[in-house]
Every structure is written in structure tokens, then in C-alpha cells.
């Protein structure tokens, strides 16, 4: 329709320039840093210098030491493991609970509509605040979650257990009512994932609600006429039809989970004993809090970039193949 070839470039250029400056520039510089010994306490010696003879490269200043350090650093390996488990738990819970919420909420009805409106609420709560509020609510002395878990889950479970124990069958130890949630290695990581699930499951539900709404009612009708019950319809009809959306959402949430940082700072501080130190958190500790080692922090963040690049490639191929 319109012929002037330069017009779109003029429109795109300012935004593109800023995106390049704020993403490509740091990616290149961080890669460059990662090959150097560079601590904040003393001025760094860079390999590339511009002197009188033009560009000068001192190859002896470049090394893979920071990457070698990462591979042998048990705390970095620990952060990889923590991030892996955090991602697995938070993604699985977010997607499954999100799917559950979507299926329950989908139909019309006053309570359904109210719940649908509520789904947006966690989006308004910043991750940093989420971390603090969960930490408060999980407190073993005055936390509301601690109270509810003890009253609604642990106490009934123990009641059942004591009945079983009264029978001459087996003696099962009762569950402790005084678990310090954020003081226990497993529970701290689990609760961190739960706080993430609280924020994301409702949003994922919203994503699924849209996808569920676009499924033709006639397909369900046909399944019902063929005598399928609710569970069969869900597993044999709904789930397969939702598969592309589930895959995309899972991949997207995986990427967000791999970058977990905010709540670690405000909820657990990486503890107890590094049990919740995610990659991002450990990099921040090394680069800005403890050894102020920018070179090492850059190398570790590049390892994270590589992991995320693989995920991003998967994600993009999923999105493109869908259309």
C-alpha cells in the first residue's frame, strides 16, 4: 500500500536503539568481564586498551579461570541444584493448580465470576512484598499459615495417626506441630516455591480460562453423547486440546522460575544454610555483597544466560509452531 521504504525504519529505530543499548551492550560487556580477573575493590586491568598504537589486546589478561572456578565451586553447584528444584516444584504446582482453578472457575455463576475477578489480585503484589508477607505468615510463633497448617492439616492427620497407632498394627510417629518452616532446608525451599505458586497459579489459570473458552462446546457434547464421564472428558478431551497452551505456559513459567531472585532476598535470605540460594541470588551475593567479584559474577550469569537461551529457543519454537 505505502511505498516509502524508510518510514518503518524511522519508526522502529529509536526503540530498537534503546533495546540494543540496554540488552546487547550489557550482554557483550558481561561476556568480556567474565574472561577477566575483576574485583570491585581494585581498578581492573582490561585486555583491550586503546593506546597510541591504536587498539591493543593483551591476551595474557584473558582467561577462563572464572568459568573453571564456577565448575569447582560447590556453592555455585548448590545454587544450580536449588534453582532446579525450585523450578520443578514451582512450575509443577503453578501449572497444576492453575489448571485446576481454570477448570473450576470456567463455568458461569456468581461465585465463579467473583473468583475470576480475584485471579488478578496476586499480580498486583510485588515479588518483594510477596516474600515478606509469606515470611510473616509462616512465622512459627505468630504466623497465620503456621496456625492454619497446624490446625487444618497436621492436627487431623495426627488424629488419624493416633487411631491407627491404637490398633495393634504399626506405630507411626506423629507429625511435629512445631516445624519452623523457613528454618528447615526442605520446607524453606518448598514454601519459597509455594509463594511463587500463589503469585502465578491464578495468572496461569487466567491463561487457561481463555484457552478453555475457545474450545467448541460441540466437542464436549459429542463426548457426552458417547457416554464419557466428567473425568474422561477432562483427560481425553480437554487436556489434549489444551496441550499446546499448557506447553507454552509451562515453558514460560520455567523461564521465570529460573530467574528467581526477589523473594529469596525478602523471604529466606538464601537460608537456611544456602538451601534457598538460587543462581541469581548467589551471583548477587558474589558480585555485590560478599567478594564483589564482578568477573566471577559475570561468568556465572553467562552460564545462566546459556541455560535460558536453550529454554528461550524451545519457547519460541513452541510459539511459532502453534500458528
Amino acid at each position: 500500500m505505502r511505498k516509502k521504504r524508510w518510514v518503518p525504519w524511522v519508526l522502529v529505530a529509536p526503540a530498537l536503539l534503546i533495546i540494543v543499548l540496554t540488552t546487547i551492550y550489557p550482554l557483550v560487556v558481561a561476556l568480556y568481564f567474565s574472561f577477566h580477573k575483576y574485583k570491585l575493590r581494585k581498578p581492573p586491568q582490561f585486555a583491550i586498551t586503546i593506546g597510541e598504537g591504536g587498539l591493543h589486546i593483551d591476551w595474557s589478561l584473558l582467561s577462563l579461570d572464572n568459568y573453571a572456578l564456577a565448575i569447582s565451586d560447590s556453592r555455585f553447584i548448590n545454587s544450580l541444584q536449588v534453582t532446579f528444584w525450585f523450578t520443578v516444584i514451582s512450575v509443577a504446582l503453578s501449572v497444576i493448580i492453575g489448571l485446576f482453578i481454570a477448570v473450576v472457575v470456567q463455568k458461569g455463576g456468581r461465585l465463579h465470576t467473583l473468583t475470576k475477578v480475584l485471579l488478578i489480585f496476586p499480580f498486583a503484589v510485588s515479588p518483594a512484598l510477596k516474600g515478606y508477607s509469606w515470611r510473616f505468615m509462616l512465622n512459627e510463633n505468630y504466623g497465620i499459615y503456621d496456625l492454619l497448617i497446624d490446625q487444618l492439616i497436621v492436627a487431623p492427620a495426627n488424629a488419624v495417626l493416633s487411631v491407627i497407632n491404637a490398633l495393634p498394627l504399626a506405630q507411626i510417629p506423629l507429625i511435629s506441630e512445631s516445624i519452623v518452616w523457613l528454618g528447615d532446608k526442605f520446607w524453606a525451599l518448598f514454601m519459597l516455591a509455594m509463594s511463587e505458586t500463589w503469585g502465578w497459579a491464578p495468572l496461569i489459570a487466567l491463561m487457561f480460562v481463555g484457552a478453555l473458552g475457545s474450545i467448541d462446546e460441540q466437542i464436549y457434547e459429542a463426548a457426552r453423547i458417547d457416554g464419557a464421564n466428567r473425568l474422561q472428558i477432562f483427560f481425553r478431551v480437554t487436556l489434549p486440546l489444551l496441550r499446546p497452551v499448557i506447553l507454552i505456559v509451562t515453558m514460560l513459567k520455567t523461564i521465570f522460575s529460573l530467574k528467581m531472585f526477589d523473594q529469596v532476598v525478602t523471604m529466606t535470605g538464601g537460608g537456611p544454610v544456602r538451601a534457598t540460594q538460587t543462581i541469581n541470588y548467589y551471583i548477587h551475593q558474589i558480585g555485590f555483597v560478599r567478594s564483589l567479584d564482578i568477573g566471577y559474577a559475570s561468568a556465572m550469569s553467562y552460564i545462566l544466560v546459556i541455560i535460558l537461551t536453550i529454554c528461550a529457543a524451545l519457547y519460541v519454537s513452541l510459539v511459532l509452531n502453534r500458528d
Partner: protein
């Protein structure tokens, strides 16, 4: 299937329907409790007097003293003593609110016009590499913020604007915020332009309008609601942003980082944290309700439709 089996199945399904409906209501109530409890509890704690904040009680007389403490330079009297005597530093969070408003406001003021122009070009023109560029913009959201923060931290330490280092300044934070806000804004606005039928623009073209007249007089007014939604979304993103605010913003402290200053000599003052949390959350609450229908498109850059 014979007749008697069909009859019993019909009867069974009527019982089953009641059971399913009851289960469904129970599930809905459970979901509501799951979502609302943390927000409700934060709100409750913010208006609790200090001696009731560290308990799960619901019986208390509501007070605004916590807000008074976080917004005052002076000591505030709480039960007999002042907060300073009790070892709680009253820190005025008003400057932090201003910081958050300035940073988020300036971020969208810069990002949204640029994103609008780019989104329009991506939607309406075919140009060399446009789809590749668009996918590339999509992937920039996967760059971990820490990798952006490290080089900008070292750069901003040495760069001064108006005799003030960029590190720890609002401007520095606004610059790095572009890396997260611009890609989302472009994709979100592009969605709105895509949805706009091209016929009006065609007609304007036939009438002799040039590209820019069409853009500014025809298309922009039509996508204004979409641009508004994207602005709100971008505002929420930069308002809730934490990693950059911590590393690049530093002592300047947006509200997200200021939340951390509610810890005093005796650990975190939960009632103050809750009050500050409400200040952070409530405005975003209304904004989120306003763009409720577009949040999914925004978060997924339109991948889930």
C-alpha cells in the same frame, strides 16, 4: 445400552450432579481463600496496634499509627513510649514513594511513545527482517536481569550526570528499566494495532495522506485505549521491579527496596512492613483491575490466545 441401565444412570447422574455442585462450591471457596488470605492478612496487620501484630488474633481496635510511623520523621507515640525510645527508627518513606512514582512514571513516558511507533511499524509495514526482529525482541525478556545489572553497575559508577553519579540515581534506574519495559510494551501495543482494521488507513491513503499523517491523525487516536493499557502494564512492571532497584537504584531506594528498611533492632517490624506493603500494593491493585482483561496478553506477549 438397555433401558433399565439408562434409567439408573440418569438417576445416578442427578445425585452426582448435586455432589459435583457441592464439590465445586467447596473448591471455589478454597480458591478464594488461597488467593485472598495473604492480601487480607497484610491489610489486617497494617491496621493492627503493635502489641496485636505479633499474633493471629482478629480482635483489636484498628489504628493508623503504623502509617504515621512510616511517614514521619519524628517519633510517634505508641503505647506510653515513643517509637524511638522503643528502638524503632521512624523512617519517613515519603521520599521512597516519590522515587517510585518518578522512576515508574518517567519509564513509561519514555518507553511508551517509542514502543508505540515501533509497534505500529511492526504491525503495518513489511520491511527487511521485521519478523526476525520481532522474535528477537520477544527473546530479550529471557535475558536475566542480573546480566544487565552487572555492566550497568560498573558503568554507572563512573558516569556522572549533572555532577551526580548515575549509580543510585533515578535516571540510572530509568535507563535499565527500559530493557524490561520496552519489549513488553512493543508486543502489547502491536497486538492492539493488529486488531485495528486497515481499511480506514487505506481510505486516508487514497485521500492523499502521507504515512505520518495517517499514523498521527488516523491510527494513533484509534489505538489510544490500547496504548493506555500498555502504559498501565509498563507502570506496574517498573513499580514492582526489585533487582535493578536494589543493584542500580541502591541508596536512592524505590518503595520495593524501602520495604527492607522496616527491619529494626528487633528484627522486622511486621506492622510497619504491612503498612508500607499496603502503600506499595493498593495503587497497583486498582491499576491491575483496570487492565484485568489484558494482563494475560501482556505477560505472554500474546503467545497464549
Amino acid at each position: 445400552m438397555n433401558l433399565s441401565a439408562a434409567g439408573s444412570q440418569a438417576q445416578e447422574s442427578s445425585y452426582a450432579r448435586h455432589a459435583v455442585r457441592a464439590l465445586e462450591t467447596a473448591a471455589l471457596l478454597l480458591i478464594i481463600a488461597f488467593i485472598a488470605l495473604p492480601i487480607f492478612w497484610l491489610a489486617i496487620t497494617a491496621v493492627k496496634p503493635q502489641e496485636k501484630a505479633y499474633s493471629t488474633t482478629l480482635i483489636f481496635s484498628p489504628t493508623l499509627v503504623n502509617f504515621e510511623i512510616i511517614f514521619s520523621d519524628d517519633s510517634v507515640t505508641i503505647n506510653e513510649g515513643t517509637n524511638r525510645e522503643r528502638g524503632e527508627v521512624g523512617r519517613n518513606m515519603f521520599p521512597n514513594v516519590i522515587n517510585s512514582v518518578i522512576v515508574s512514571g518517567a519509564t513509561i513516558l519514555i518507553a511508551i511513545p517509542l514502543a508505540t511507533l515501533a509497534a505500529y511499524a511492526f504491525s503495518r509495514y513489511q520491511f527487511l527482517g521485521n519478523s526476525v526482529l520481532l522474535i528477537w525482541i520477544l527473546t530479550t525478556q529471557f535475558i536475566p536481569a542480573i546480566v544487565v545489572a552487572i555492566p550497568f553497575f560498573t558503568l554507572f559508577r563512573t558516569v556522572e550526570v549533572f555532577d551526580r553519579p548515575l549509580l543510585g540515581s533515578q535516571l540510572g534506574l530509568i535507563i535499565v528499566n527500559m530493557s524490561i519495559v520496552l519489549p513488553y510494551a512493543i508486543w502489547m501495543i502491536k497486538g492492539f494495532v493488529d486488531a485495528l482494521p486497515g481499511e480506514i488507513e487505506e481510505a486516508a491513503f487514497v485521500d492523499g495522506c502521507n504515512d505520518f499523517q495517517i499514523l498521527f491523525y488516523i491510527s494513533l487516536p484509534l489505538i489510544r485505549p490500547g496504548v493506555l493499557v500498555a502504559s498501565v502494564f509498563a507502570f506496574i512492571m517498573s513499580w514492582n521491579e526489585f533487582l535493578f532497584a536494589l543493584i542500580i537504584g541502591r541508596e536512592m531506594r524505590t518503595m520495593q527496596v524501602a520495604l527492607m528498611t522496616t527491619s529494626g533492632a528487633r528484627g522486622i517490624m511486621w506492622e510497619q512492613m504491612a503498612a508500607a506493603g499496603l502503600v506499595v500494593m493498593v495503587p497497583i491493585f486498582f491499576l491491575a483491575m483496570f487492565i484485568r482483561k489484558n494482563v494475560v496478553d501482556g505477560l505472554t506477549m500474546g503467545a497464549v490466545k
